[in-house]
Symmetry: C2
Subunit: 258 residues, 2 copies
């Protein structure tokens, strides 16, 4: 049975302001919550689960789950941010991610300028995690990582890939100063497949409709482009930003896994 | 000024049954509608646009737009399926796509088994179009291509890439009979980067959470896998289906563009 206050709390956690005030975010779905219960550095504070889900929890998971509240499916529907809720929803403490001052040398990292769509950000975090990328930097105007839809779309990948919010101009300048290569995707870039891709670097992706802004563009020395097939010169079509990210990250890693 | 009947019509076109009855679908957004007005084989029947948008239309576009109805932004919000509508919404005749009996030999085509998320299907159509893929086959249980959210996420890529609904078992059997290679992504597949990828072929992708069903799996000879980085053996993580599609299509095409 869930109290009215908890229902209100969960609703309000849809906004960033309230998440910051409460230091909590909403994580939903069987896999994401199970992964959070496994991850040492994450602190699950409340768990709202269906009876069978709670019954299957191990003693260690129960210990880690903070307050456990049994809910009916109807109650879960009331608090869920998903169209078809799974069996469990958790409130989790916001992490204290340490943002590095500059992109860590020797690592591949991503920068996203004003990414707006929650599904896109979540999908990109998932891709980044698949390819062993540990840090994503977002410009301050980007959608918040702890927006429930981003958490959902990430399928819990944020557990291993930190997302930081910071001015990208200074970040790129910092990368340049410390000798980290900076890449960005542009229609006028050179083919991804013939470009010189290092093992480390900061890769910048732009906003869904506007791409990378001119002020950042002039700071990015390595301009790359995903060739369409067949080669057809200028086209008004484009790839979704999360598809571009997947293709570019895969190509950086492909060069290393042979 | 938009009539109550038209508002109702547009609302009802959110369901597949009504789209089939009326032979119409909803297409929204400046670029998608502009592209449809350019595309000879597409028939725009009604165009609801803001005054400035309509004013900028060329005589050819006006000719092609069927009935043109000027709407205020408030009216557009009422009829739109988007959170922040653009300047224009159109009702377009459903196309008479000719479904080939078997995947066309010599082409690269995609098959999607029970894809559910409208954003994923739209994004995949966009990717397919970028890579010159002209046919996508979906199992009958998949989300409908003319769901307004799919149309939106595709950014109009369906103008050049046809989406067919058909049983995938028979399709795969047909490909095998006509000598078209059949690929599928599986956790136990061989690395995408060392696999023998032909110029043509049918690539099968599975449902968002369940992957490819066992009955189709046994029909697919070429099992491929996108290697995570660093190589870490079994993992509970995964890529979004639209990210996998992007990476796989890009790799097929990369082998040809060098």
């Amino acid at each position: 049975m869930i109290s009215k206050n908890k229902i209100k709390l969960i609703r309000f956690l849809g906004t960033k302001k309230y998440r910051d005030e409460q230091g909590l975010f909403v994580a939903e779905g069987d896999k994401i919550v199970a992964d959070l219960l496994q991850a040492e550095e994450w602190d699950v504070r409340y768990l709202f689960g269906k009876r069978e889900w709670i019954r299957k929890m191990s003693p260690q998971e129960r210990e880690k789950a903070g307050e456990i509240i049994e809910v009916s499916y109807e109650e879960l529907r009331k608090i869920s941010y998903m169209k078809s809720p799974h069996n469990v929803l958790a409130l989790v403490s916001l992490p204290a991610w340490q943002m590095p001052d500059v992109p860590p040398a020797g690592e591949l990292t991503l920068a996203l300028e004003n990414i707006q769509d929650p599904g896109n950000l979540g999908t990109i975090i998932r891709t980044a995690n698949w390819f062993g990328i540990r840090h994503i930097f977002c410009s301050p105007g980007s959608v918040d990582i702890f927006n429930p839809k981003v958490v959902q779309a990430s399928m819990g990948a944020f557990i291993h890939t930190a997302v930081h919010y910071t001015g990208l101009g200074r970040l790129i300048a910092g990368a340049a100063e410390t000798g980290t290569p900076v890449y960005g995707t542009f229609l006028e870039g050179r083919s991804l497949y013939t470009a010189d891709l290092k093992e480390n670097g900061l890769i910048v992706f732009g906003n869904e409709s506007k791409g990378i802004s001119p002020s950042l563009e002039e700071m990015i020395p390595e301009k790359i482009f995903i060739p369409p097939f067949p080669d057809r010169g200028k086209t008004t079509n484009s790839l979704n930003i999360s598809s571009s990210t997947a293709i570019v990250c895969a190509e950086f890693r492909r060069r290393r896994v042979r």
